[in-house]
Amino acid sequence: MEELIASVIRGLGIGSTYALLGVGFVIIYRATEVVNFAQPALMILGAYFTAYYVFNLGLPFWVATLAAMVTMALIGAITERIALRPMVGEPPFAAAMVTVGVFIILLIVAFRLIGTTVITVGDPWGLERMDVFGIRIFQVDVAKIVISMVAISIVGIFLKRSRVGLAMRATALDQEVALAQGVNVGRMFGLSWAIAGALAALAGMLIGTGSGGVEATTAFIALKALPVIILGGLDSIQGSVYAGLIIGVAESLTRSYQPEFAPILGANFDVVVPYLIMILVLMVRPYGLFGTPEVQRV
């Protein structure tokens, strides 16, 4: 039982990180109807800047994390202004291809910055463990859950309660109507990229808290957010949160028990699990668990 609970908590920890990344995808999609494939590169650069601010500038860990989020928010907004804004009015598929290009460029930058070494983010948890109702769990897993949920809640409240959030939601619903109501739609696009960049930076920091640190290739972990957004629904923040947690827990339980109970499935079957879940959900709910069903007039 203890092993089961520990495995679930580990899954919730990594799932929270997937949820953060998924929410970044959703925010940009809702504002611009573009799936941002550059999110993995924003994540790894976030990890790099956190490490840089901690070890090169000597900033305290939490200050460095916030500084990295601000840095990536700026990079996200600038990227939108330079690479995506000219694509307004073009088919979303073309804009998505631009994000693929942005991904490759930013990834090359990350490879140049990180080089061939392993970086750590200087987090306070390391490999420390704690007792929760007699069960030994890693502090880092609790930190991942708490930090991710707090960050997503702040974004949710911002979108729901603030005037700018209202403007962003209006833009997401109908860009032309929002424009007619005086909303600066371009600014909303930039803001959505900035928020996604900040969340990606936070996810990068959390990924970097592992005991082995991160390498430039760690960026590819963020691709796990693709099944998350499909499962949760492309336009649902709530869906991304649930889907991230479901996929994280499913992965973790598979890692813990599949080698013992289903060795015939082979090594590393947990890698396949998110995609299997995604395919199953697409078969029964093509718009995801919380996505908006489409009505097509015929």
Binding site: T117, I119, S211, G212, R255, N268, Y275, I279, P286, Y287
Partner: protein, 464 residues
């Protein structure tokens, strides 16, 4: 409708990623070459075409005959402008592949090595150039094959071919072209002519022998294990290493708890599955054949959950940056590194020279040391071919069988060809993490071999 399209696009990409994971074995997916690379390659291709025309026929200068890959003209930026030039190719992992941390310093060391040879006058009136035909193939067999085809007309030999599968991908072409290569891969198959066609100048031990030496070391110096386990990437690296652990266990009468296959974090996300199997298996010794970040995660994660056994790490498991990770205390306590040669601070004429080449400044990791030492077989082959008056590819290939390589003390003399069981290297350097050392670890014992590794009948590849 719009969302449906996106879902389809995202689902398609996900399925592609899934297939890549399923089919990719131990290699993470690689990305396409950058525009910059493409431009550079296009320029090189033009240059290559010109050079090919120039080198079409055999030429003789003095007493030495030569053709492809050797010119009367001096090398670009030649140390000796009056010398001719021998062009050697390098196909390595230099940017985003999984072994770039090895490929970059390895190549840097080889550049320094030839600079030293050239500064000493070169080889029989020729300088050696490896810069002109160095290509980043990202540990991808297709890229490797494509780059090989591009540079082949202009090189005499390959000074570095990184990775077993990438090297296997070009082996048939190399055979047809009479191109020999120095590999940056330690697969046990390279010791056998039916596998390497007599073209590969393997250096040091194989991963398979490395594991046996590691197990012998633990058994003789720490505690006799009751059970052992292998953790690694599937394929030539982890698979060969695991085969060595299994063979050792059989010879020692120790329980082999199996080979736990894992993959780089970029693919599997974390090493939780491997840690879980180590903890449930409870081996006394674990042989690791993974990358540095994965090593730290496995050792740190296992130790934090109560594992008290010993970890032994293959050559690529170490990076000095691991001492900055939370796993550092665990690494210092229960991890030892196994290398085929002494570290940067080793004691030999070769080590003195490589330190001098860097003005005593330590490199980023010990792949630099390995890159330097790996350069000796090609140097000796070139010297032998030049002494025979034949620097053609055929002439160079003909000296490989029976070639004796003097490593200036860095390794015991190595003989190519003949009986692999007689000629294979069975010595290793054991090191432990050490924050006081420049490269984060220091030598515990150099030139170590154990009873099972030294007696193992090496009459075929351990894996593959």
């Amino acid at each position: 409708m719009q969302r449906t399209r996106w879902r389809r696009a995202a689902a398609t990409l996900s399925v592609v990623a899934l297939l890549a994971v399923a089919c990719g074995d131990n290699e993470p997916a690689t990305t396409s070459p950058t525009e910059e690379d493409a431009d550079a390659d296009a320029t090189d291709a033009d240059a290559d075409a010109d050079a090919t025309d120039d080198d079409a026929d055999d030429v003789a200068v003095g007493d030495i005959q030569f053709d492809q890959g050797v010119t009367e003209e001096a090398c670009p930026n030649a140390v000796n402008p009056d010398n001719g030039c021998i062009y050697l190719g390098v196909l390595s992992d230099l940017t985003e592949g999984p072994f770039a941390a090895l490929g970059v310093p390895l190549t840097e060391a080889q550049r320094d090595f030839w600079n030293r040879v050239n500064t000493d006058g070169g080889i029989a009136g020729f300088d050696v150039d490896i810069d002109e035909y160095t290509r980043d193939t990202k540990f991808d067999p297709q890229e490797h094959s494509s780059a090989y085809r591009q540079i082949e007309p202009n090189i005499l030999a390959l000074h570095q071919s990184l990775g077993t599968e990438p090297t296997e991908a070009i082996l048939r072409d190399m055979d047809d072209d009479n191109v020999i290569a120095s590999p940056a891969t330690w697969w046990s198959g390279w010791g056998f002519e039916e596998k390497d066609r007599g073209l590969i100048l393997e250096i040091g031990y194989s991963y398979c022998i490395e594991s046996m030496i590691a197990m012998d070391y633990v058994s003789e110096n720490i505690a006799e294990p009751g059970s052992v386990m292998a953790v690694g990437y599937p394929g030539d690296f982890g698979g060969d290493s695991a085969a060595g652990v299994e063979a050792w266990a059989e010879a020692a009468g120790v329980e082999f708890l199996g080979f736990v296959e894992t993959a780089p974090n970029a693919i599997v996300g974390s090493q939780d599955a491997a840690i879980s199997q180590i903890l449930s298996g409870g081996p006394d010794v674990v042989m690791l054949a993974v990358g540095p970040a994965e090593t730290a995660e496995i050792v740190g994660g296992s130790a934090a959950q109560g594992f008290e056994g010993q970890f032994m790490g293959s050559v690529p498991t170490w990076n000095p940056a691991l001492l900055q990770t939370p796993a550092a205390p665990a690494l210092e306590a229960i991890y030892l590194h196994v290398g085929f040669a002494e570290n940067f601070d080793g004691e030999s004429e070769a080590h003195d020279k490589l330190r001098e080449a860097r003005n005593g400044e330590p490199p980023v990791n010990d792949a630099y040391t390995y890159g330097w030492i790996q350069s000796y077989p090609i140097l000796r082959a070139l010297e032998a071919a030049a002494a025979n008056g034949d620097l053609t590819r055929e002439g160079l290939r003909s000296v490989v069988d029976g070639l004796v390589v003097d490593y200036e003390g860095a390794l015991p003399d190595q003989v190519y060809g003949g009986d692999p069981n007689e000629n294979v290297q069975r010595e290793a350097t054991i090191s432990r993490p050490d924050g006081e050392s420049d490269l984060g670890y220091s030598t515990v014992e150099a030139g170590y071999t154990g009873p099972i590794a030294s007696e193992y009948a090496y009459d075929g590849p351990c894996s593959g």
